[in-house]
């Protein structure tokens, strides 16, 4: 599938960059006139993935979070959020609703569940001590005929 536009954002694992990532993904979607509904769904999913990278991946230590995004000709949006943090031992378990390894910090364990509920698909690739990649897809309509190809 042909990619119409793509971007990559690297930022520090600081809490104020959760809002940065949300604004950047909104701005990236803007040229294809997403609905407010779609904008909100994607911002929520990105917020969850980026917060996880900061809170769990780097456990509030200093590190870089990477968000990549692609807009495809057929109107699908792909998003990848990566960290080089501690990784997840058991991904299937981590994705269960209410499962959290941070009871004390008032995490609800609902992050992955929210991502799954607001996006069409969510893939997680993770390796202990090596980091985590969260890949999400969502079809945006109408299609991308609005954009000129450069």
């Amino acid at each position: 599938m042909k990619t119409v536009n793509e971007m990559r954002l690297d930022f520090r694992s600081r809490p104020e960059n959760e809002a940065l990532a949300r604004m950047v993904i909104s701005a990236f979607m803007m040229p294809v006139n997403p609905t407010l509904e779609q904008l909100g769904d994607v911002k929520t999913a990105v917020s969850e993935a980026v917060t996880n990278a900061i809170v769990h991946g780097y456990r509030d230590r200093k590190g870089l979070v990477r968000m990549r995004a692609w807009l495809q000709e057929d109107g699908e949006l792909l998003i990848e959020v990566c960290d080089k943090g501690c990784g997840i031992e058991n991904v299937a378990q981590a994705r269960q609703p209410f499962f959290t390894t941070m009871e004390g910090s008032e995490r609800s364990g609902m992050g992955f569940t929210v991502m799954e509920s607001f996006m069409d698909s969510v893939d997680v690739v993770s390796q202990v001590d090596n980091g985590t990649i969260v890949r999400m897809r969502k079809r945006l309509t109408p299609a991308l005929c609005l954009m000129r190809d450069a």
């Binding site: 809490p15 104020e16 917060t51 900061i54 008032e106 995490r107 609800s108 569940t113 509920s117």
Partner: protein
């Protein structure tokens, strides 16, 4: 900067803006100062002014619910917009916290 009102043993908190992990930490810090007062018996979150919330908001509300319950108090929520409510429903929060009309 929390927008709240304290009346007859109840603290009403009107949440606004974007409730993410960062903001949840700020709210928690301010709120726990407020409800440290033993005369506070009830905590009400008004979600109507929220522009954005992710699951960090759920964690923050569950945390306050536990605090209030431990001392025999109660927590209630005045619902917010569509996406906020979808997250509230997903989390089953209304099974333990009162939803006000």
């Amino acid at each position: 900067m929390l927008n709240y009102e304290k009346r007859d043993g109840t603290v009403y908190v009107r949440l606004d803006g974007e409730l993410d992990h960062r903001r949840a930490g700020e709210i928690r810090a301010e709120l726990d100062g407020l409800i440290a007062d033993p005369s506070v018996k009830r905590l009400v979150f008004d979600l109507n002014g929220l522009e954005f919330m992710d699951s960090s908001g759920i964690g923050m509300m569950i945390g306050r619910y536990k605090l209030m319950k431990n001392r025999g108090g109660s927590v209630a929520v005045m619902p917010g917009g569509r996406r906020v409510e979808r997250i509230m429903e997903l989390s089953g929060l209304y099974e333990i916290i009162e939803k006000m009309a």
